[in-house]
């Protein structure tokens, strides 16, 4: 093997190893994990689940912890507007009674797929106050582009 070729190969292997090391660190040590919850739900009985019969923001610990129960359906989110204080630990529970949807808070790294039959759980914390746009980023039919919601992050509790 040519020596330049060998050097290049070593460089490539080291680079991949470094990438994987960084990803592993953030995944396992810093807790920056993609969704991984495994709760199932009958998509035809979403409205009979107490969390999703009344989609809402639930204050678990005022100013500190909030649970958001959200239904994503063709072509809207419920609730359509959410408000949480900055810095609070926010946990989204989202499910769909019809087709697959996406959930993306534009301008942040908060997003996930919503798959009928499953409950998507996302943990987030919003440090910057303001009004965020939530969009569906998984094609869900001819009204897909109407599907959006607002997230208001307030200055304080």
């Amino acid at each position: 093997m040519n020596r330049y070729e060998r050097a290049w190969l070593i460089f490539a292997v080291l680079m991949v190893a470094a990438f994987l090391g960084i990803i592993a660190y953030f995944n396992f040590a810093a807790g920056l994990k993609p969704p991984h919850d495994v709760e199932v739900i009958d998509p035809l009985r979403v409205s009979q689940d107490p969390r999703f019969s009344q989609p809402r923001v639930e204050e678990v610990e005022p100013g500190k912890r909030y649970n958001i129960y959200m239904v994503a359906r063709m072509w809207s989110y419920y609730p359509r507007e959410i408000q949480v204080p900055r810095g609070a630990e926010v946990r989204f529970y989202i499910t769909s009674p019809d087709v697959q949807h996406g959930f993306q808070v534009v301008g942040t790294n908060v997003q996930a797929n919503v798959i009928p039959g499953y409950v998507t759980v996302i943990d987030a914390r919003f440090e910057k106050p303001g009004e965020y746009l939530i969009v569906c980023n998984e094609y869900c039919g001819r009204g897909h582009h109407f599907m959006r919601a607002k997230l208001r992050v307030t200055e304080g509790y």
Binding site: M1, F26, N27, H36, E39, V40, V99, I115, N137, H145
Partner: protein
């Protein structure tokens, strides 16, 4: 070559798909410019489905079938495949499947995009047509493998496969392993469900099976481009590939790592644990290595060719490359785009970086660099050699071909560049209208959407120029270029006995083992969660 007509016909069908796909593509980029409304959202998603299916499945499959058949016959020095009848049957089945799927797509009864995620339900004809297409490719692959066996049995048992044929066989191995997933999805889930024989399917299981197939599908597209880079490019430059051994290692690494990687498309899915997602992150990064080796090998090969042509200096040799040859410039540009595509791919593959770009405009930006440039531009470039070789007619216009390549380069730079930035800014993909009621978060997107549209127009112009050139070539005057062009696509027979790297049976077995490790337990996990599944939501 007895199957010349069939091979040529396959190329022509692929060009037709490319032309129609490009028209639908331009419609989409124009439609997404704020304030422009040309068609209804139903039509937009019909066109989006047609664009994806035509480009990703029809253009690629027909081109690859013809290219692979040509490479195998040329490099093995054979006059026909094992069974020209099987060859004809394969093309007929792929055509039939395409027509069956095209009917519901074009009449708006299958606007489910080329990923067809349930529980959106298309007309059953769409799923059945897609399945027939895949069955056709199985017949095609079997015929080529039998052709290689026939060659082996006629006194070539102790000889290495020529590199191009080695690449074709590797591509077919990947294809057979990959299509198990989509066949299972179609036969066990979508076809019976769309016919009303079962009430529900589990959409997560369907995604699992789809991406088991969907990622190696990209290597089914990419490896034929690699075959061109490894075999045609050196011939064009009058040199041998820098390292025949490492080229084979590259194909073997693709056999090993192309399939157990599907979860990097499903990082954002619920129902799959972090550990499995991380395992697929590792295997996905492993696929980075063969492309890094390729970057070295093709660059070194080009440098050898350039120095032979009198190129001097550390980088000055680049100027000595045959830039005036449209086939060369297309392939070289394809490789440059692929380098950027690879870098972006590392972002997609990162378990915890992925959620910045997942399902945003970044993703189509990325795949237009890879399949839309590395593959498509290579296919167009090599067409400028293959058409004269197959028809014995002179290429109508080299200058027009040069302009075509330049237009593709400029168009893709604009389109893909803008789409990557849009993605980072959070603009979703696959969406008819991204103004979202004029929300302030979308305001920075407008100039980029305009740039993407301008790129799309240039890309369509490039395709039209390509098609015009092809059409004129077919009806043009015969010329003595056939011999020369044929020489360029023929790799000299390799010397030496097969080594460990040539033991494709062994590597197929290891690949299957890796697939079992990467998929058995998480698939059982999904089944054991016992999701009741979802009833169909008709899109027709």
């Amino acid at each position: 070559m007895r199957e010349k007509r069939l091979i040529l016909l396959g190329f022509l069908v692929s060009y037709a798909a490319l032309g129609a796909g490009a028209l639908f593509g331009m419609l989409q980029v124009l439609e997404r410019v704020p304030g422009v409304k040309l068609v209804s959202s139903e039509t937009y998603y019909t066109a989006l489905t047609a664009h994806g299916v035509l480009m990703a499945l029809v253009f690629t499959t027909f081109f690859i079938m013809s290219l692979a058949t040509y490479v195998v016959l040329r490099e093995l020095g054979m006059r026909q495949t094992f069974s020209p009848g099987m060859s004809t049957l394969a093309y007929a089945l792929v055509t039939l499947g395409t027509l069956m799927a095209a009917l519901p797509i074009l009449t708006g009864r299958a606007s489910v995009l080329y990923t067809f995620y349930p529980p959106m339900k298309a007309s059953p004809l769409f799923y059945i047509g897609a399945t027939v297409l895949v069955v056709g490719t199985w017949v095609f692959g079997a015929n080529l493998l039998l052709t290689v066996r026939q060659w082996r049995r006629s006194g070539n048992s102790g000889v290495k496969l020529p590199l191009g044929v080695f690449g074709v066989v590797s591509t077919l191995i990947i294809w057979y392993i990959a299509t198990i997933g989509v066949a299972a999805e179609m036969l066990l889930q979508l076809i019976p469900w769309s016919l009303g024989l079962v009430d529900r399917v589990d959409p997560l299981l369907a995604r699992n099976l789809f991406w088991y197939f969907g990622h190696p599908l990209v290597y089914f597209w990419l490896l034929p481009a690699y075959i061109v880079w490894y075999t045609v490019l050196p011939r064009m430059l009058g040199v041998r590939v820098f390292s025949d051994f490492l080229a084979r290692v590259v194909f073997v690494l693709f056999i090993l790592f192309s399939t157990p990687v599907g979860y990097h498309h499903q990082f954002m899915d619920p129902g799959i644990s972090t550990e499995w997602k991380f395992l697929h992150t590792i295997t996905t990064f492993a696929v980075f290595l063969p492309s890094m080796i390729t970057a070295f090998t093709v660059t070194a090969t080009m440098e050898m060719g350039a120095r032979l042509r009198g190129g001097r200096g550390l980088l000055g040799w680049i100027r000595a490359l045959p830039w005036g040859d449209p086939a060369f410039s297309a392939i070289a540009l394809a490789m440059v785009f692929f380098a950027f595509g690879g870098a972006g791919g590392a972002v997609n593959a990162g378990n915890n970086l992925n959620y910045v770009v997942h399902n945003t405009a970044w993703v189509p930006g990325h795949l237009h660099l890879t399949v839309g440039s590395a593959v498509a531009l290579t296919f167009m470039g090599v067409s400028y050699l293959l058409l004269p070789a197959l028809t014995g007619r002179r290429l109508h216009s080299r200058r027009m071909a040069q302009v075509q390549v330049a237009l593709w380069g400029a168009g893709m730079l604009l389109f893909s560049g803008a789409m990557h930035i849009l993605g980072v800014l959070g603009s979703p993909r696959r969406t008819y209208d991204v103004t979202f009621g004029g929300h302030p978060a979308t305001q920075g997107w407008t100039p980029l959407l305009v740039a993407a549209a301008a790129g799309g127009v240039l890309l369509l112009l490039s395709v039209l120029l390509f098609l015009y050139n092809v059409g004129r070539t077919l009806r043009g005057a015969p010329a003595g270029e056939e011999q020369e062009a044929q020489e360029q696509v023929r790799q000299p027979s390799p010397a030496g006995a097969p080594g460990l790297v040539d033991n494709l049976g062994l590597f197929t077995a290891i690949a299957l083992l890796l697939v079992l490790v990467a998929y058995t337990l998480p698939t059982l996990d999904i089944l054991s969660l016992g999701s009741p599944g979802a009833p169909p939501v008709p899109m027709d």
